[in-house]
């Protein structure tokens, strides 16, 4: 009964989204304000029905309704409650329902918090979001209905043990909030193109939304990386896997978009470029969904694939890109700007930032799709390995870092290198000192790579600090945007530091240890005390004990496990990690060897690995500060009074 209600509710939401997509849009062309006024209540209603539908699926999981096929394949009665809830998005159908629910939530948020935007613009934005919803809800109902029934099963097939984890409970919703959030920037860009009024206003409205979507995506990617680190068992934190790339590409383009919106808003330039980036960020989000869901790639994120689903998303993707490009070409004359800038200026800096980020995204896209292309052309089955990505991303990252430091300190319109040198020498000296001193303090040996990495990281951080200090304001009076840029840049510096140091100084060894034997690594003594049997709620495990000492002083006792989950009879490695700000100690159990209780073990010393994710948290914070800058609220109040006066005129114009 409840699942049927959920499905009904989904169908009603589809009907509402069709109306939301057509009626207000039609109203904006006819100048009919009652049609346009339909947009807001329709957005509310769409959210209510999607929330109810999603709630029904959660209910089916919590109450173990194994007559629903999706529940029967992804859940089990022995699963702890938290994982029953997170199992809702543990596989294809449910994660798409979550996608749809999040889309309706973003639509609701735009309807609620954009009261200052002229009615015409808002109606168009909500209509575009409605049309996107039509596509997704149709996709859900036609190819991946989560409410399909089967004869009642005695029990479910259980959630994949890898996914039974707190990190995974929050990683997909965060990531989807980011993916889908770019639909708002896309909707603003398309709405502005429909109206043909590509002034700075649309950029100002789109900025906070883009920032928030970017924050979610940043945190979502970091959570995924952290989860891979401790849950996949082997201590890697980035694999250049197609699915990871799928989330990185919209992040790179989204980052470019955030910065290009600044120029469009402040200087009225690069309008066409900004619109294209907005289209690009959302298209790459959709492409990501397509790549993950269609099964066209041999991803290490393995899943049972369905060509029909892939085709549907591909057609949808082509529509999204095609329609916006057609609009773009129609409106091309409107993008002209008569503002100018010198070669050495903030504009050039931001342009360089954009170009580098987009080249990075293209390189990742090429590396991800290359195996598909060669396979389709029958050239051979080829894979593109991590060295390809590192080869490109490292030098581009270095150039990006150099530009970041200068860009922030440059003036709009016109600047000169002689003035810049007068400022940057101080942060440059600080950065040099930091890059030379730091490795001396903790690093076992000198490495050119780490010198380079630390140099560019501290260059980013010190130039950002310099920029804030030069504003000569108390931290409490600093604008949200300034805080955003400061934290964003320092966050990236922190991540770069972590990436550099863990890549250069990581020590990793597979060893064979009998009970009471020990192995020394990174200055720590790992003593293996043996393995015992242990029981979990839905698994049995071998539980190892490793005592770690340094200079005879106890550091930690780790208990890595080798679990076997009862339902899927799938073995899984649960690593033992002693986390710290400056280093992680990591132990994973391999296999039992021989009869004397010996095991193969992987022991790792991972310096500064936490900084990779700490940086992402700082970047996320920065994005929040920027999104909630008072300026937007003040502007919106001002805009409210003027827009009420002008909106009627505009409608009938």
């Amino acid at each position: 009964m409840i699942p049927e209600l959920g499905q009904m509710s989904l169908i009603i939401a589809l009907a509402i989204s069709v109306m939301l997509g057509l009626i207000p849009l039609y109203g904006t062309f006819r100048g009919n304000s009652s049609y346009m006024a339909f947009a807001r209540p329709a957005s509310y209603a769409q959210w209510v029905f999607m929330a109810f539908s999603f709630g029904c699926l959660v209910y089916a999981f919590v109450t173990d309704d194994f007559s629903v096929r999706y529940v029967a394949t992804t859940s089990n009665s022995a699963l702890p409650l938290l994982f029953k809830v997170s199992a809702v998005w543990g596989a294809h159908e449910g994660s798409l329902l979550l996608w749809g629910f999040i889309l309706s939530t973003w639509t609701l948020a735009v309807a609620l918090f954009s009261r200052s935007i002229p009615a015409v613009m808002l109606s168009r934005v909500l209509s575009v979001l409605g049309l996107i919803a039509v596509g997704f809800f149709l996709f859900l109902l036609i190819t991946s209905n989560p409410f399909d029934r089967i004869p009642m099963q005695a029990d479910g097939r259980d959630l994949n043990p890898l996914l039974q984890d707190v990190g995974l409970a929050i990683h997909p919703p965060m990531l989807y909030m980011g993916y889908v959030g770019f639909s708002v920037a896309y909707a603003f860009a398309v709405a502005a193109m429909i109206g043909g009024k590509l002034d700075v206003a649309w950029a100002r409205w789109a900025r906070p939304w883009t920032n928030i979507a970017w924050v979610f995506l940043t945190i979502g990617i970091a959570l995924g990386s952290w989860w891979a680190y401790y849950e996949l068992g082997w201590g890697g934190w980035w694999f250049w896997d197609p699915v990871e790339n799928a989330s990185l590409m919209p992040w790179l383009v989204g980052t470019a978009l955030m910065h290009s919106l600044v120029i469009t808003e402040k200087r009225g330039m690069f309008k066409a470029w900004t619109v294209l980036l907005a289209v690009g960020a959302f298209s790459l989000s959709l492409l990501g969904t397509f790549l993950v869901r269609s099964g066209v790639l041999t991803s290490v994120h393995s899943f049972a694939s369905d060509p029909e689903r892939g085709l549907f998303i591909l057609v949808f993707l082509l529509l999204v890109i095609g329609i916006s490009l057609v609009l773009f070409s129609i409106r091309a004359p409107k993008f002209a700007s008569n503002a100018t800038f010198e070669l050495v200026s903030r504009e050039s800096g931001l342009l360089a930032n954009n170009i580098i980020l987009v080249v990075m995204a293209c390189a990742v896209l090429l590396g991800t799709l290359f195996p598909l292309i060669t396979d389709a052309l029958a050239i051979g089955k080829i894979s593109v390995g991590p060295p390809y990505f590192n080869f490109i991303m490292v030098p581009l990252g270095v150039v990006l870092a150099i530009v970041m430091g200068f860009g922030l300190l440059m003036r709009w319109k016109k600047d000169s290198f002689s003035r810049l040198w007068g400022i940057v020498w101080l942060p440059l000296i600080f950065a040099l000192v930091a890059a030379i001193i730091l490795p001396l303090v903790f690093a076992p040996e000198f490495s050119g790579l780490s010198l380079m990495g630390l140099l560019i990281s501290s260059w980013i951080a010190f130039t950002a600090l310099m920029w804030v200090i030069k504003q000569k304001r108390s931290p409490f009076k600093l604008s949200g945007t300034s805080w955003g840029a400061l934290l964003g840049h320092i966050g990236l510096a922190v991540s770069f530091t972590g990436i550099t140091l863990v890549s250069v100084y990581n020590v990793e060894k597979d060893v064979r240890l009998a009970p009471n034997e020990s192995y020394e690594l990174g200055g720590y003594q790992f003593t293996f005390l043996g393995v015992k049997d242990s029981q979990g709620p839905n698994y049995t495990a071998y539980r190892g004990t490793i005592d770690i000492t340094r200079d005879k002083a106890s550091v930690a006792v780790l208990n890595p496990e080798k679990r076997t989950y009862r339902i899927q009879t799938m073995p899984m490695t649960e690593a033992g990690i002693d986390a710290g700000i400056f280093r992680d100690l990591f132990v994973a159990l391999g296999e039992p060897l021989g009869s004397n209780g010996a095991w193969s073990l992987r022991v790792q010393y991972k310096p500064f690995v936490r900084w990779v994710w700490l940086g992402a948290i700082l970047m996320g914070l920065g994005g929040l500060f920027a999104a909630f800058d008072k300026r937007y609220r003040r502007l919106s109040k001002k805009a409210q009074t003027t827009s009420q006066k002008t909106s009627n005129k505009e409608v009938y114009a």
Binding site: T73, I150, V300, H301, S302, F303, A304, K381, F391, I392
Partner: protein, 171 residues
């Protein structure tokens, strides 16, 4: 600088940038492509010694051997036409099993033995990498499957395969 000169400089920088980026990408691609080969192709001598490639297939039953004193293992990968013995030192992935698919990355050493640097296995028990599936000698697979399917309980087949989205650890 006049406006026209400025534009020229900008265009030049742009062209240089694009050329640099393309050169970077092409170099990176050239050096880092790994061909996927089947045991049949390896046995036919399609690969040079010392060249890194990926080799996939099914792990032949009873072929997994461990060295007593070290972490060295060897096993046989087959596409049901030819067999290749894989030498590896280290920990095998959780889902590595005999009679299951696996993909390895490695080279032929001086004596022509295949030494793997990396062994990949999937993280969903019901999933098989597409490349492996495409490359198997299907007639022989069907024979093997028919024997196994006879034992599987019919009621389980009513439930669709789980569509789980998981990550696989590289190593």
């Amino acid at each position: 600088m006049k406006a026209r000169q400025k534009r020229l400089v900008l265009v030049l920088i742009g062209v240089l940038g694009v050329a640099g980026a393309s050169a970077l990408i092409i170099t990176a691609l050239r050096g880092n492509l790994n061909y996927y080969l089947t045991p049949t192709k390896v046995m036919a001598g399609e690969v040079k010694k010392g060249e890194l490639f990926r080799l996939g297939g099914m792990v032949r039953e009873g072929s997994l051997k461990r060295d007593e004193g070290s972490l060295d293992v060897e096993f046989v990968l087959t596409d049901y036409t030819s067999d290749v013995t894989v030498h590896y030192s280290g920990i095998l992935p959780d889902l590595f099993k005999e009679k299951q698919s696996a993909v390895t990355k490695g080279k032929l050493d001086a004596s022509g033995r295949f030494v793997a640097e990396e062994v990949l296995a999937k993280h969903d028990p019901s999933y098989m990498p597409k490349e492996v599936k495409d490359s198997l000698n299907m007639e022989n697979v069907e024979k093997a499957n028919a024997a196994r399917n006879a034992q599987i309980d019919g009621s389980k087949a009513a439930i669709q395969k789980p569509a789980t989205q998981t990550k696989e650890a590289t190593q």
